[in-house]
């Protein structure tokens, strides 16, 4: 049982690339912390530095207040589950699970008992004498987990353990991993690029981009109050609609192309900083589910031409086009910051509505905007415009 603390953790490769930059993170005892981000954002590198598989260039890793920078993996009291399982192919499932104990010279009887217990928890009892090659993907993943659990470590490290499983199995394993972690109560650092895993499994989620921490918060807070453009666009699927807008001189309304949205007073009060953008460009964000087809109110509507309607059974995804300039919250963001024009990529906004509507492509849809849920971002830096709302 332990905490994990990353202090200004940095990794710079010999060729000069910075993979992780000044990462500060604390994982409490028993907490499930998810590290998420696009490919190449440094999340796996950070995890490997905690594991001791990657040399640390700067900063510290503490496990329970003890600095472990110079300790080899075996001395850090950690267990790791790899993306492609890394099971020892020449050993049986029982031997695989028990390997860590055998290496530490635990008596044979104790090993047998622990392996038994772990196999019961994970449903591997019938497979103990088989070799990894004879197991399915999900079973191999469970063996990898068994190998980690049985060591009763201070920290669990998991590197995208579900990304090699098919969708259905992933749903099942997500629940299993969460349950096992809760049962064992060990601090866990879990790396993934899958949002659903992050949102459903994490106690807290840390979003990384190009080696820099963007925001670390509870999943719902990340969703409702993203700190910057990147997090706003990254969390949530389909992603938030982002447009370039203009704030009115009195800061009561914002123009998107030819249309105007009135900002409710409550929203204004909650965002003191918005005053700085009077009569200036402002990036406006609206999540797809905050656009509905019911009861459009004056000053809180958005009309656009419908391009595609995707019927999902429980809801409709309406892809529409308005004449405001969309903002792509991706790596191209650096263009915005340096004064260049934002790249207009997929021009369609997306609205997520109830499926009773008969709307079709080519028609003009008028959406009611839930303006309490408007997000605003500084065009120069991408940071959210508000003072942080209390959790």
């Amino acid at each position: 049982m332990a905490t994990v603390t990353l202090e200004k953790l940095t990794k710079v490769y010999p060729n000069g690339t910075t993979a992780v930059s000044d990462l500060d993170l604390t994982v409490a005892d028993g907490e499930f912390m998810v590290l998420i981000g696009p490919s190449g954002c440094g999340k796996t590198t950070a995890l490997r530095m905690v594991a001791g598989l990657e040399k640390i260039t700067g900063g510290h890793v503490r496990i329970d207040d003890r600095i472990v920078n110079d300790l080899p993996p075996k001395a850090r009291d950690i267990a790791m589950v790899f993306q492609n399982y890394a099971l020892y192919p020449q050993m049986t499932v029982a031997d695989n699970i028990g390997f860590g104990l055998k290496v530490r010279k635990v008596p044979k009887a104790a090993i047998r008992d622990k392996v038994e217990a772990a196999s019961q928890v994970l449903g591997l009892h019938e497979h103990l004498d088989q070799k990894p090659a004879q197991l399915s993907g999900g079973q191999r993943q469970r063996v990898a987990m068994g190998r980690a659990i049985v060591r009763e470590p201070a920290v669990f490290l998991m590197d995208e353990p579900l990304s090699n499983l098919d969708a259905k199995l992933r749903v099942q394993m997500r629940a299993e991993i969460s349950e096992v972690q809760r049962h064992v109560g060990v601090a866990t650092l879990y790396v993934t690029h899958d949002q659903t895993e992050a949102m459903t499994m994490g106690d807290r989620v840390a979003v990384l981009r190009s080696g820099v921490l963007q925001q670390c918060d509870r999943p719902q807070s990340l969703y409702d109050y993203p700190d910057n453009l990147f997090v706003a666009g990254f969390i949530g699927s389909p992603s938030m609609n982002l447009y370039e807008g203009e704030l009115s001189p009195d800061a009561h309304a914002v123009r998107l192309g030819g249309q105007t949205l009135i900002i409710p007073p409550s929203v204004q009060e909650a965002r003191p900083r918005i005053g700085e953008f009077r009569d200036q460009k402002l990036i406006v964000g609206i999540r797809p589910e905050h656009l509905t087809l019911e009861n459009p109110l004056e000053g809180a509507t958005l009309s656009g031409e419908v391009q595609i309607v995707e019927a999902l059974g429980s809801e409709l995804m309406i892809h529409f086009h308005i004449d405001a300039t969309p903002v792509h919250s991706d790596e191209e963001f650096s263009d915005l910051a340096s004064g260049g024009a934002p790249l207009a990529t997929h021009a369609a906004g997306i609205a997520r509505v109830q499926s009773r509507s008969q709307i079709r492509a080519g028609e003009v849809a008028t959406f009611a905007v839930e303006t309490e849920w408007l997000h605003f971002f500084d065009p120069a830096t991408g940071t959210a415009v508000r003072d942080r709302l209390p959790d």
Partner: protein
């Protein structure tokens, strides 16, 4: 695949003929070993008129075959053990670590394969003789000299092959072992080497066979006491009579160890152990 009767028979006959062609010399050798010398020197007989096993007994006294056998065994085994051991560590280092000069080293190892072996004969001889004269370590006519010579053949090939082999073993296995509690050495010995067994065995067999059958360098770099089997066999042909039947018998006897070694180690060459340990 559907095969017509005609095609099947054609295939069988062709393969049989090819097999016969390959085995024919072996058959002649075996026949020769059981004939008395006079019959051998006479016109060739398919079915021997006299059969004798005497040659198999005589070979040991006509020529000090046992002594040569021991020499070959010592030299071949030593060069095999040393080259495999060094190649395992070198190959592992090349495939796993980044270090300065890694690329240069790999290229150097590979480039040695470009040269025809015979080029090294004279230089090696001169080097050995000079070392013997200057430092006093006698390499010419010693086991050590021959072993070192065979190392120059076997080692580069072994390093290159094992480096490639280790590269196919996923790095995550060692990482998992190190997280589980082994040191880097532990991971190498407990996890990687068992998995690399097919490659190691292949390299060992290659090294052994190369050394065992080598004649050219042995003929130059050995003396009477260190002579190996390759040239030892030639001694059955004296200035007087050539004892063909004994020579053939010795050849059969000499080939036996290699065949035995190969058959014994064959099952270790079976791959397929790593499938299933890692996804994809």
């Amino acid at each position: 695949m559907y095969e017509s009767t005609a095609a099947r028979w054609f295939r069988r006959v062709t393969l049989a003929l090819i097999a016969l062609f390959a085995l024919f010399p072996l058959l002649i050798i075996l026949l020769t070993t059981i004939k008395p010398l006079k019959d051998v020197q006479n016109t060739f007989q398919w079915i021997p008129s006299h059969i004798t096993l005497a040659p198999y007994a005589e070979i040991w006294s006509t020529v000090p075959l046992l002594h040569y056998f021991v020499n070959s065994l010592i030299v071949s085994s030593s060069s095999t053990v040393v080259s495999v051991t060094l190649a395992v560590f070198a190959g592992y280092a090349i495939s796993r670590f980044q270090f300065r000069g890694r690329r240069l080293f790999s290229l150097a190892v590979l480039s040695t394969q470009m040269f025809p072996g015979i080029l090294f004969l004279l230089p090696l001889y001169l080097i050995y003789v000079n070392i013997g004269r200057s430092i006093g370590i006698s390499l010419y006519g010693s086991y050590l000299g021959l072993i070192i010579t065979y190392l120059t053949f076997a080692l580069p090939f072994a390093v290159w092959m094992l480096a490639g082999f280790f590269a196919t073993i996923p790095r995550e296995l060692e990482e998992a072992a190190m997280v589980d509690g082994t040191s880097h050495w532990g991971a190498l010995f407990r996890i990687v080497l068992p998995l690399a067994r097919p490659g190691i065995v292949a390299v060992a067999v290659f090294a052994f066979m190369t050394a065992w059958g080598e004649v050219l360098f042995a003929s130059v770099l050995t003396t009477q006491s260190t002579r190996t089997l390759g040239i030892g066999l030639q001694e059955y042909a004296t200035s007087g009579d050539t004892a063909w039947n004994q020579m053939m018998a010795a050849a059969v006897v000499v080939s036996a160890p290699v065949v035995v070694v190969f058959l014994a180690l064959q099952r270790h060459l079976i791959r397929g152990l790593t499938s299933g340990s890692v996804k994809g």
